[in-house]
Symmetry: C2
Subunit: 183 residues, 2 copies
DNA sequence: TCACCCCTAGACCGAATGGTCTAGGGGTGT
DNA sequence: ACACCCCTAGACCATTCGGTCTAGGGGTGA
């Protein structure tokens, strides 16, 4: 987790954490403010549109962190399968650390609540970024180019679904068994 | 979709629909009441604990419908692979019908919002019901018993993740390509 | 040292939230 | 025909929601 150097960062970080736990609609501004120990005036100074701008910043924040985890798993890996297995194990550990409750930071923040074209579009863009990144690692690790995108999508889908099941079960075990299906 | 014979059913059905669209926290009581054309007094007569009881009824409702779709796909299938492919195609069609926005009715209703032990537990129970049902079909269609649970879990995870990606992309295409990974 | 301005601080706002409570309409059993 | 009671109906409640606005603290540049 990054640190809260500035007030703006602190807000984005706190919001990301809370949205992931309870979803966009499930968190009130007052709760975010109280957690970040920042007054309302500061929020609206840094994020003119208020809660929705904050959600975008939070999603961006979370996405960058996810990309970091992906890189950490795949960069040192000798092949795609090893990288992927490491990724799932890393995420299982993360899941446990977060109290076995949190959902996907992106769908929890952007795909919850009323239809919002901007949110939906941003979530799509972020997901494609993840898939592309995984795909690049796959190619680098010897997966044929015409297969890589497909493999990456499969991985993403499995991860997304596995996380949901893990959440319902309150157990990260599923996440650790999933690589079996992807090799 | 079942019909709204009684006021109670109408409420559960309307709530299920709305929770699936916007999540538990994203829907107000007043919106449900207006859509169902039912006064508040009736709601609290049929569901003493109010919104949370309504969510439980809605999830139950949605779960039964999902089981029906699963059966519809697998019962006439000659083998597991065919059944599974039919299931994904049926759900893709459903996804399109619902305006390409709705999420999983269970996670949207129960796994959104603040930590709630009852909701979490119910979601787990419902998901396991689905997996068990799929597993039973698998066995009936010739999958070895010691593999069936595993295959069913894999299917569920793929479905759950695929639906999320379909939602972000506003396209049911992914859902149609997923069976490829499951055979 | 002083003026400037970025940012913090929180009081305040109307609207909407989930929930409670009292009345009364209308179908049913006798 | 009457009494009973299930259910509808919606006014009303405190609380919280997201958002606006004015004041002032405090660091920086000249």
């Amino acid at each position: 987790m990054a640190k809260n150097r500035t007030t703006k960062d602190k807000l984005a970080w706190t919001a990301a954490k809370l949205f992931q736990e309870k979803g966009y609609e499930g968190v009130g501004l007052s709760e975010i403010l109280a957690n970040a120990k920042v007054p309302k005036g500061s929020l609206y100074h840094h994020f003119q549109k208020g809660k929705s701008d904050l959600a975008i910043a939070a999603a961006d924040f979370a996405s960058r962190e996810m990309l970091r985890v992906i890189d950490d798993a795949f960069v040192p890996a000798p092949d795609y399968e090893t990288g992927l297995t490491t990724l799932f194990h890393k995420l299982a550990k993360l899941f446990d650390l977060m109290g076995k409750w949190n959902g996907c930071p992106i769908s929890g923040t952007l795909l919850t609540g009323a239809q919002n074209a901007v949110f939906r579009q941003l979530s799509e863009q972020i997901f494609e970024t993840w898939i592309t990144r995984i795909s690049q690692h796959a190619i680098r690790l010897g997966i044929p180019e015409n297969e890589a995108e497909d493999r990456a999508t499969h991985l993403f889908v499995t991860l997304q679904g596995g996380w949901t099941l893990a959440r319902a079960r309150s157990s990260s075990d599923v996440l650790r068994t999933l690589p079996r299906y992807l090799t």
